[in-house]
Symmetry: C2
Subunit: 165 residues, 2 copies
DNA sequence: TTCATTGCAAAGCGTTTGCAGTCAC
DNA sequence: GTGACTGCAAACGCTTTGCAATGAA
């Protein structure tokens, strides 16, 4: 068990190093500067599990040693999106639409099953990630049918738990 | 040609009458009041083709005889969503995410292919509606796999036109 | 030294809220 | 007559912007 955790921690560190390398190359290519803020924000995002929003990130970094302004976080997130280091999500369909993000570099593209609390159309109790190959088939068909190149997609399924009876 | 237009206009009028009946029944069931504003907004939405946002609707109604406040439009749209009379969309993925709506009563559920201007990740040039049966299959599989009831989904494909060369 | 980047505070913008007046029932 | 609904203006929350100060190259 301890050994397993050690292995996981080691892998996490290796990945942190890799992802910073990816950022470095991106900054180089774009002729942007290597600021410590950018690397700290990237590190924080890649230490996080699951989804986060700008405020989450801001507060987490406040509680640690490193203070970064929200303006910088917004700018940096925009850049990371462009770099493909993170993805943006809009969970919630009715209203209470909230923007969140997740790291994307090591993960495969996946979609989301959003489960609402019983009797509510707004309160989300769980978000499950899934991957179905048929979505790729759809993309291929539609790309061919309309003569376009599809770079990207977003699929959300909205559900409630089945009534146990 | 004239005859054809007349037929189309007649059909449109019949549908307007039908959809107002649907609203009336909904209001009855929910014990809400039959205000002229609600019927005017519904009529305006069902005369429109394609997608609209709150501001569009507000301005269109200003330019006609009927003035309705934005607060009322927001309230009413919330109600229409609940009634299933309209659907909400969030087009645009990177940023410039904008909320829009479309009538939904007579249309079948469909998905959207969002085409960006060449070289831009933000400027949308066209939104094509499509319908692929495989999405239904995915919903059925996922519902079964996770033991949930899927009420709804949203699928957007993001694309650029192919380079003609 | 230079200019991209940061941080702060102010501005923007779409949406919501509070409340007084209105009108459906 | 009563309370649901409307309209207005103010408030809200998230995001962007302007600008002076900083620090990477």
């Amino acid at each position: 068990m301890n050994l397993q955790n050690e292995v996981l921690d080691k892998r996490r560190l290796v990945r942190l190093k890799q992802i910073k390398e990816v950022l470095k190359l991106y900054l180089q290519k774009k002729n942007y500067r290597n600021t410590p803020e950018r690397y700290m924000i990237l590190e924080e995002i890649y230490l996080l599990d699951g989804h986060f929003n700008v405020d989450d990130l801001y507060l987490i970094m406040l509680n640690k040693k490193y203070h970064v302004s929200k303006a910088t976080i917004y700018n940096t997130i925009e850049m990371f999106l462009d770099a493909g280091l993170i993805r943006r999500h809009q969970f919630g369909e009715k209203n209470n639409i909230s923007t969140s993000y997740e790291k994307s570099y090591f993960d495969m593209q996946h979609d989301h099953l959003v489960i609402y609390k019983q009797g509510s159309d707004r309160e989300i109790v769980e978000i499950i990630e899934f991957c179905d190959p048929r979505i790729q088939q759809i993309k291929t068909s539609i790309a061919e049918a309309f003569g376009v190149e599809i770079e990207n997609h977003s699929l959300y399924l909205y559900a409630h738990r089945k009534n146990e009876s």
